[in-house]
């Protein structure tokens, strides 16, 4: 397929493709789904559970259940919406079993069920204040600062491309029109911008292996 072809059909849903690959036996595809949604699931569960270790356990259980039920995902909804339900149900059952802090559980349960359609989006910006430690906050802050510093150091064309993509959420096609360049160029610029920024944070991620952040 020619990436510069503006009449090409829209690319398939990445998550759905990763699901298909997983079902075909490619576990690395599932790994990518886990990595992509790990923090999001943890943030969601962190709103329901105070114990950080329990958050980790429930998040892990969520992905295990998702893996087992992956064949039931038909792509009618977004993958995360489907995963979100599994995560909430897993957390509820875990809390029922452990009967830990039912007051917090009930209050969080209510907020999570008020509006299930918007809940996945609402939890995006939710923090996990109860699980923060000074060391973890510092590590998180370092990553954010490194990303922002790397953004400042990017050439204008790369910074513009990744800004339009990540912050404004434009498609490659829209960015190509905005920047008056081929889609292939957009894709390349975004990739180069990501690589430049990632080069700053990869050492931090490697250093933090085995630690919490």
């Amino acid at each position: 397929m020619n990436p510069d072809d503006h009449t090409a059909p829209p690319p398939p849903d990445s998550d759905a493709m990763l699901v298909q690959r997983t079902l075909a036996g490619e576990l690395r595809a599932f790994d990518l789904l886990v990595i992509k949604y790990q923090r999001r699931v943890e943030r969601l569960i962190g709103r329901m559970v105070r114990d950080v270790d329990l958050v980790q356990d429930i998040a892990q259980e969520t992905f295990i259940r998702a893996y087992r039920a992956l064949a039931q995902f038909r792509g009618d909804a977004q993958f995360y919406t489907w995963l979100y339900r599994i995560a909430v149900n897993t957390a509820k059952k875990q809390l029922m079993e452990l009967k830990r802090d039912p007051l917090v559980f009930q209050s969080q349960l209510k907020s999570a069920e008020d509006d299930e359609t918007s809940a996945p989006e609402r939890e995006l910006n939710a923090g996990v204040a109860d699980t923060e430690t000074p060391e973890a906050v510092l590590a998180s802050k370092e990553i954010a600062e490194a990303v922002n510093a790397a953004m400042e150091a990017l050439p204008e064309e790369l910074r513009m491309a990744i800004t339009l993509r990540e912050i404004d959420g434009l498609s490659y096609e829209d960015i190509a029109q905005a920047l008056e360049c081929p889609i292939g160029t957009v894709r390349s610029r975004i990739f180069r911008a990501r690589e430049a920024i990632s080069a700053r944070i990869k050492p931090m991620l490697e250093r933090q292996t085995g630690k919490r952040w």
């Binding site: 036996g25 576990l27 992509k36 923090r39 087992r68 990553i143 944070i201 991620l205 292996t209 952040w213």
Partner: protein, 225 residues
Amino acid sequence: MNSKHVATAQDHSQTDSVLSALADGELPAAEFDAVFGASDAPDGLHLRWQSYQLVGEVLRGQAPAPGGRPASAFLAGVHARLQAESGVAPGPMTVTPPAPVEESLALPPSRGRAPAANDAVFRWQLVAGVASLAAVMAVSWSVLGSGAPGTAVPDQGAQLALVAAPAAPAVAPATVVVQTGQGAVIRDARLQELLAEHRQYGGMSALQMPAGFLRNATYDAAPQR
């Protein structure tokens, strides 16, 4: 801009940028195979993917969630669980893929049966299996054990009759002849033994006959001296 020139100049980028395009949901299906190409070891693939995701989250104002476990450790935990459940030798790529389900079972989570809380615990499935087997054995035992070997199993009525028969005493209770003020009385030996131990219950009632079963006012005891 000349698109042909751009495509030529960016061949390298097109090859390497598949992961980036995948992160953006812009990867054409035809290029999907390149994601899992041999150029990246799993750890390298994971690290690149994780950093891409983090970059996006930070730029969108979603600070990385503190307290989280690094993706590598988290993935290792997921792999270990999957391997433990599938019962295969350790190794990140040896996990049994989830089996496809029949179309009739392929319901979205909102309509399908939610996974049970103990689905993940294999021992519960084992316990359920053993319990089912025990129930079948118990029923079989009761059905087959009611008929003598080599004979037909009696019908329900006959079974009831058979059950009632043992209720009758097989041997008549021993009796003793006791001399009382009213003459010789034949008593059950066990009753006589009981009365001998508890004489206060063995007195005569107003009916002038031994009536230990009545709570009367008589009291038969040795005379006071």
